[in-house]
């Protein structure tokens, strides 16, 4: 049954957004130099290059294990310190604990931190302290504030005010309120967010390493820079194993926290 009368009216709703989308895409493609021919070329070049990188240089494997450990530790320390700082910021940013002035200022600070990519913090810290693990750990810790601080503050604000009042009514001071009323409440969330952040930090520590914080990221950058592609491939494999491993681990632990409330 062929269409008898076919009007284009029904597409009116879609045509304008579609044209705008296409125009913007075209314009951005010109800026990026991403025409369609180049696009497919680029992807195939990338794949072909991957072929060139094979096989990995296993002789470099042992000497990369230590940098890998370093990366993991940097991510771990960044997460630990970052979580501690974030809890402080979250307490200051919760409207049921802090006074409005402190709260708003902390919230603004958190929002600004959230919009600064970690890499910029790191570059500035490297400029201040020189290369090494310290700028990496500090950058990751500060990076936690934006995400964990906001999430935790939101959770603290959802705590039943009656519970805080109950502790205050028996004469508890602010610190007791925090220790007995707030921390146990947010602990499960805190742990699962921290684990999630640890996953992100593992990736970031590789990225930061490539800029100068050391670790396996530096090995990767160095191998690419020295055009030792087989060696770089080894680093890639180690990085992927690292990311995959921490992801599984954090998934497992988070599930445990969720189901059993363990670790609290």
């Amino acid at each position: 049954m062929p269409p008898k009368k076919f009007s284009f009216k029904r597409y009116r709703k879609f045509i304008l957004p579609l044209i705008i989308l296409l125009a913007v895409t075209e314009a951005t493609a010109i800026v990026c130099g991403a025409t369609f021919g180049k696009l497919s070329d680029g992807i195939f070049n990338g794949l072909a290059f991957l072929g060139n990188m094979y096989p990995p240089d296993w002789s470099a494997f042992p000497e990369m294990l230590e940098p890998a450990l370093q990366s993991i530790i940097i991510a771990f320390l960044g997460t630990v310190f970052g979580t501690i700082i974030s809890v402080v910021f979250a307490l200051l940013a919760a409207n049921n604990l802090a006074n409005p002035w402190v709260r708003n200022i902390t919230r603004v600070f958190i929002a600004i931190e959230r919009s600064i990519p970690e890499i910029i913090i790191l570059i500035l810290l490297v400029a201040a302290f020189g290369l090494g693990a310290m700028p990496g750990v500090v950058a990751l810790s500060i990076g936690c504030i934006g995400m964990l601080g906001k999430l935790l503050a939101d959770i603290i604000e959802e705590i039943d005010p009656l519970m805080i009042e109950a502790i205050e009514s028996v004469g508890g001071n602010k610190i007791q309120v925090i220790i007995f009323g707030v921390l146990p409440q947010i602990m499960p969330n805190l742990i699962s967010y921290a684990l999630f952040r640890f996953e992100i930090n593992i990736r970031l520590s590789v990225l930061l390493g490539a800029v100068g914080a050391g670790g396996v990221g530096y090995e990767l950058e160095y191998s690419f820079g020295m055009l030792q592609y087989h060696r770089a491939f080894t680093a890639v494999i180690i990085i992927i194993a690292m990311v995959f491993g921490t992801e599984r681990l954090s998934y497992f632990l988070r599930k445990k926290v969720k189901t059993e409330g363990a670790l609290t």
Binding site: V24, T25, A27, T28, A29, V31, C32, G33, A34, L39, D41, G42, I43, N45, G46, A48, F49, L50, M53, Q70, I73, I74, F76, L77, V80, F81, A111, I112, S115, I116, P117, E118, I119, I120, I123, L124, L125, A127, A128, F129, G132, M134, V137, V138, R203, V206, L207, A210, V211, G217, L220, E221, F224, A232, V236, I239, I240, V243, F244, E247
Partner: protein, 270 residues
């Protein structure tokens, strides 16, 4: 559950102290291993002060004097936009191949799922280094890297979104003799479209940040400018660029937030 089921305070205290002590020792060992002294950050805080002294006040003249800075911002935005768009579209296509309610062949589903979980674990820095060598350092390389990373980050989520759609409408459409394609078109796509678009906007947010980092590794854009200004030690320029980046990130976030609310709000269900 027994009637008396609680831990004695003394035991609880002991448990907590043990966990705390072990944790502290582990952290301390890690600190020693990496030569990281948390106090050093505060003891040597004068370094930060010195740097800030170098940076302030920001030299905004560099933005007006050098029009390429504005262009670099544009490049970063374009990179993030195209990366999210192409990456999102490819992610949707792979997600359709990976979802059990759209793809009947198990083998295809397995391949698609494997591809997605593989792309998921590759960090962005690996991807950009590969593309910089494959196509040369440029915005184009950055964009390609963002495409790959977007597929990895959002492919699995999209698969889950597709698999979680209501299945009864699909059954009704099958019952009038429709084909699988028609079920996808009339039941699955209308249900997932708003969520997909909202997630693509979110991908754009994430990609803006990534795009800045990519610039430092040869992906072009404002990140490259920043790296350049830093390597010639023009810290006042660095400060200007950083403030510009913050404004850009906050602005794009607000815009995409607004659009997202509009899209999700439009199709709000009871």
């Amino acid at each position: 559950m027994t009637a008396i089921d609680f831990t004695l305070p003394s035991k609880k205290f002991k448990d907590k102290t043990t966990v705390f002590a072990v944790g502290t020792v582990v952290v301390a060992l890690c600190c020693i291993y990496t030569n990281f002294n948390p106090l050093a950050f505060f003891m040597e805080f004068h370094n930060v002060r010195d740097l800030l002294g170098e940076m302030l006040p920001p030299n905004y003249r560099t933005l007006t004097d050098d029009p390429s800075t504005g262009y670099a911002i544009l490049q970063t935005l374009c990179m993030a936009f195209l990366g999210s768009l192409y990456g999102g579209i490819i992610a949707v296509i792979i997600a359709f191949l990976a979802a059990s309610n759209t793809m009947p062949l198990k083998s295809v589903r397995m391949i698609a799922r494997f591809t997605l979980s593989f792309l998921r674990v590759i960090p962005i820095v690996v991807v950009i280094l590969i593309f910089v060598i494959a196509v040369g350092p440029s915005t184009f390389a950055g964009m390609l890297a963002l495409v790959i990373v977007t597929i990895g980050n959002f492919g699995k989520l999209f698969t889950e979104i597709i698999e979680n759609v209501e299945s009864p409408p699909a059954e009704a459409i099958y019952s009038v003799g429709a084909s699988r394609m028609q079920v996808i078109r009339y039941s699955i796509i209308p249900q997932i479209l708003p969520t997909l678009i909202a997630n693509m906007l979110f991908a754009f947010d994430v990609n803006i940040r990534s795009a800045i980092a990519l610039g430092i590794f040869g992906g072009g854009g404002i990140g490259f400018k920043l790296q350049l200004a830093k390597s010639v030690l023009h810290y006042k320029d660095v400060a200007a660029i950083v403030s510009l980046i913050i404004i850009m990130v906050i602005l794009t976030e607000k815009i995409s937030d607004y659009l997202r609310r509009k899209i999700l709000g439009e199709g709000k269900l009871k």
